[in-house]
Symmetry: C2
């Protein structure tokens, strides 16, 4: 699956991914009103509003971007109805040719990780039939439980040609609390990075591994070191834009081949119409505002890469 992602990034010249992390407060009033008039102020109403909102953004941006990254928590907060919207969003984005990175940050003991991997990336056996539960292309995985919590995901990736991004150094302010702790003089995240390389060797694509990692845009010095530690590992980079990461900081997340990193923006794209810069699009032009924000982000990242 990493081959498909790289091909899409190269074809569209866009090493970016749009984070579909909808808060109900991002959804334009007119979409909320329409959904509530049909389903009431219910979980189904909220889920419908989010689905319509996502659909608009996908329609307006799919030709420019290689992938979307729906954050499942934002759907799970609305219970079953929210998860139906998550599933519909994944399926629709896939129909539009996009790679789906499910930001699910799952991870558990062996048999349980297998269940997550099967549900999100593989197929589950029911009697004589097989079904894909959510059918994402990549998912994010939490490494705290060690190899036997990650290996089942790798096995499912091999079987179904899918991929994962393992959390190495996350973008949030307190990520260092445990991740930066020194073990024999080296931070924990470097140990995790070494394991990511090891796990990834068993699941290589043409140039990069199907086992990628997550390194936040907010820690560029660490990103620079991690890039060198993991030359064949694709880095999913959250934290650009709203969280504070700048394009100039991100050039060292890329390899000399211009590949090796995919930068995520969520709020900065999907709620672009709420920024002064894109206010002229208005509420009903929210999807066009997202399209413009995608173009600006691509120019920003590619500009920084060119000036490296």
């Amino acid at each position: 699956m990493i081959n498909e992602l790289v091909a899409q990034i190269e074809k569209k010249d866009a090493p970016i991914v749009v984070g579909l992390d909808p808060m109900l407060s991002y959804v334009p009033e007119y979409i909320q009103k329409k959904a509530f008039s049909e389903y009431g102020e219910t979980l189904k109403g909220a889920a419908e509003a989010i689905w319509e909102y996502n659909k608009g953004i996908i329609d307006a941006t799919y030709d420019l971007i290689p992938a979307v990254k729906p954050q499942i928590a934002m759907y799970e907060q609305f219970g079953i109805e929210g998860l139906i919207a998550f599933h519909k969003t994944c399926a629709y984005a896939k129909e539009k040719g996009l790679v789906i990175i499910g930001d699910i940050k799952r991870g558990d003991i062996g048999s349980t990780s297998t269940a997550y991997a099967v549900g999100h990336l593989g197929k589950v056996q029911v009697g004589s039939k097989e079904y894909a539960g959510f059918d994402e292309d990549f998912v994010t995985v939490n490494p705290y439980l060690g190899t036997d919590g990650v290996k089942p995901f790798v096995d499912v990736c091999k079987q179904y040609n899918k991929g994962i991004f393992v959390l190495v150094k996350t973008s949030n302010p307190s990520s260092g609390e445990f991740q930066d702790q020194l073990i024999n003089g080296r931070p924990l995240y470097e140990l995790v990075a070494e394991k990511v390389v090891e796990w990834g060797e068993a699941c290589m694509g043409d140039t990069y591994s199907n086992v990628g990692c997550v390194v936040g845009a907010t820690y560029p010095e660490m990103g620079k070191i991690l890039r060198k530690l993991m030359p064949k590992t694709y880095i999913l980079v959250p934290g650009y834009g709203a969280q504070g990461g700048k394009a100039a900081d991100l050039v060292h997340y890329f390899n000399p081949d211009g590949l090796g990193a995919i930068v995520n923006s969520s709020r900065g794209i999907i709620a672009a119409y709420k920024q002064d810069k894109y206010a002229s699009f208005g509420e009903t032009g929210y999807a066009d505002a997202s399209r413009q924000a995608v173009k600006d982000m691509i120019a920003d990242i590619n500009g920084a890469r060119a000036n490296r």
Copy 2:
């Protein structure tokens, strides 16, 4: 919520929790056949089989036990239909007076952890209304992202009188890969334990905190130390039975007050009828086999505690 859990444990004299982690292969043939004849060999059919199976186990054991711990991965593998079965299972067990420990091992950056906490423990705002998505009483939380990934759960616990169990030392074979790494001479899991105490101070029940932790039964020496490091922290103990943890090993997970730990068994209870020991119950007596296995587990754990 920890007060309710402690009260239930004392009332039933049973410091145990039944892990509702159904694999389709555990579900008796006759239940699978009935579900498939109604819904076909579909995800809905699988979910229906699991729900019927769970219902039988809950009906046969609820008067003996304080709590159930459904493992969401086992439902999530069947997609939306599976999650509907998870939700029904939680609601039904709650109707029967049981405390619900959702084994979800979520954890993310701040705003995303808030969404998980709201969806599983709190209520989400939809227009002028509020809804509980899954409405568990406790959930398990992964600490890899540090304080700002856990704090949102604690805040929701305070608001809605709920609780969490944070992963400290997990029961799986490779848990030591990162968790046991020494930082200034002390293992990472002890640093996490110290943070758990700190997070828990902000969310105390009468004697114990609403912020508990997970320490696997398979590491009893570490459990002994962690018990002393965290005197007011309830320990959820997976790994008893099928994973290899023995009752005698677990006595030091309890405080001198006889409280402080709740031991989980999943397969050993829910698939008891598949063991030689309970084979005489037969497939149709699977729920009665589970009831007997619960009684035996309580006797085993309480016996070990008495001989401490």
